[in-house]
């Protein structure tokens, strides 16, 4: 646990000082919500069915922007190897990176929800929606973290994320969008979307933790 906390603190400090990752993610999220609000220009009742999809597309790309660059740098500078040389479990390193990415993206998401609340005149900062966003982000960040690690080890890193991450994320995104719609009072059918989202988040977190030691092998 000490090692995981050390990695998390280090990654958050690096992200703060580097600025490029989180500034790009925040800017992307803010611009996306602004563009959607002006493009749609609908009343709150009419825009509500579209909101879940808009929000999760924004979260998805903001997450890819913020997490991918840091892993690429770790691979290029050899600092990932330096951590692998330390006498700590690989899963502890993974946990630290996961927590850092999770916290960073949650900050961007809360800011996005706040901005969307103002622009769309729809109350989005609710406890229920917060829980859905948290679950979806855990699943999403778990997968992105391990795939970004894998990406730092291979030459074809530029194509790895779209080719591998996006198809793997489809079940999560469908569940997250439908659960978000349900939280906003939209009809979502009989499927237990929130339960499916929780199952996917647990599966992604556990699977990625098991996969991480293999992803860092050379």
């Amino acid at each position: 646990m000490r090692a995981a906390l050390a990695v998390m603190e280090k990654d958050l400090r690096l992200a703060w000082r580097d600025r490029a990752g989180w500034l790009t993610a925040v800017s992307f999220a803010a611009i996306s919500v602004l563009i959607y609000s002006f493009a749609l220009d609908l009343a709150a009742r009419e825009v509500r069915p579209l909101l879940p999809g808009l929000l999760w597309v924004t979260f998805l790309f903001a997450g890819i922007v913020s997490s991918g660059a840091s892993f690429q740098t770790e691979g290029e500078r050899g600092t990932l190897d330096a951590q692998l040389l330390a006498p700590v479990a690989r899963t502890a390193l993974y946990a630290g990176k996961l927590l850092a990415n999770l916290l960073a993206l949650l900050v961007v998401e809360v800011a996005t929800l706040g901005l969307a609340t103002i622009l769309f005149d729809e109350s989005l900062l609710t406890l229920e929606l917060g829980g859905i966003v948290l679950l979806g982000t855990v699943g999403y960040v778990s997968l992105v973290t391990v795939l970004a690690t894998l990406g730092s080890r291979v030459r074809a890193r530029a194509v790895l994320m779209p080719v591998l991450a996006l198809p793997l994320l489809v079940p999560l995104l469908i569940a997250a969008v439908r659960a978000t719609g349900g939280a906003l009072g939209e009809p979502t059918g009989d499927a237990p979307w929130l339960l499916l989202l929780a199952v996917f988040a647990v599966w992604a977190a556990a699977g990625s933790a098991l996969l991480f030691p293999l992803a860092v092998e050379r």
Partner: protein, 262 residues
């Protein structure tokens, strides 16, 4: 990191004598897409020995060091480092290895003090702050400990990489061209802290042939992944026999590649 220390005080770099032999490879191989980077390499380094790893570019020196450092998995063969099997590659093995690679393996956005503090936490060093301060003094970076590492020169990066490598007092040091970017004072520092540190087993890849007599007690020469010359210092046979006066420091024993060490 506020500890002050006299500049000439001796620096502890190792926990003490390691088990015998400190590094032993038997038929160790690594291939990439069918091409052997390291080809059935066998040798044994006695504890406390200091061996220069020589060979032309592409001879397999870096791959061999990466194998021993557990960063690369072997295709064939086995090895033991500091008494631990390489195949297990567990935390105990990694705790006993210090590595300097081609890259400094440092975070540019962190300060030298923060870099050492982070790695001290990963190694669970109880005296991490004091140890970091001691090494920053030793490598001459105490005055720049709070500047971003990115602004330091190449030589200063290498000095900090040296401090990171010996931070946890490893009994085995694996160094890949550690003198790169260092000035004369830096090379002297490298020899004092790592290459000639008492009780530490050193395997260091280098192209600086003119300097190895100063620190190496043996040499291992690779060519196209194979051992072509094994002049590793041998431990005294039991019972120990007093060496003849004027005997050479190196017992130049040449073994063919693939044969286990004597």
């Amino acid at each position: 990191m506020s500890a002050e220390r006299p500049p000439d005080a001796p620096i502890e770099t190792s926990v003490g004598p390691a088990v015998e032999p400190a590094v032993e490879a038997v038929g160790l191989s690594k291939s990439y897409r069918g091409v052997a980077a390291v080809d059935r390499v066998s040798f044994a380094l006695p504890a406390g020995s200091r061996t220069a790893l020589l060979g032309a570019n592409g001879a397999g020196k870096s791959t061999l060091l990466s194998l021993l450092a557990t960063l690369v998995a072997p295709t064939e063969g086995s090895a033991r480092v500091a008494g631990e099997d390489l195949a297990a590659a567990g935390p105990e093995l990694r705790r006993r290895i210090g590595v300097m690679a081609h890259l400094p393996m440092l975070y540019e956005e962190l300060t030298p003090a923060e870099n050492l503090r982070f790695f001290a936490r990963l190694y669970s060093l109880e005296d991490g702050a004091e140890r970091g301060a001691e090494l920053l003094h030793a490598v001459g970076l105490w005055g720049r400990r709070d500047e971003p590492t990115a602004v330091l020169s190449r030589g200063m990066h290498q000095r900090l990489a040296l401090a990171r490598a010996v931070l946890h007092r490893p009994p085995v040091l694996l160094l890949d061209e550690p003198e790169t970017g260092l000035d004369a004072a830096g090379v002297e520092l490298l020899e004092r802290l790592a290459l000639a540190a008492p009780g530490t087993t050193v395997l260091a890849a280098t192209h600086r042939h003119e300097r190895i007599e100063g620190w190496a007690s043996g040499r291992l020469v690779l060519d196209r992944g194979r051992v072509v010359e094994d002049a590793i210092e041998r431990p005294p046979a039991a019972p120990p026999v007093p060496a003849e006066a004027g005997a050479p420091a190196l017992s130049a024993a040449t073994s063919s590649a693939g044969e286990p060490p004597r």
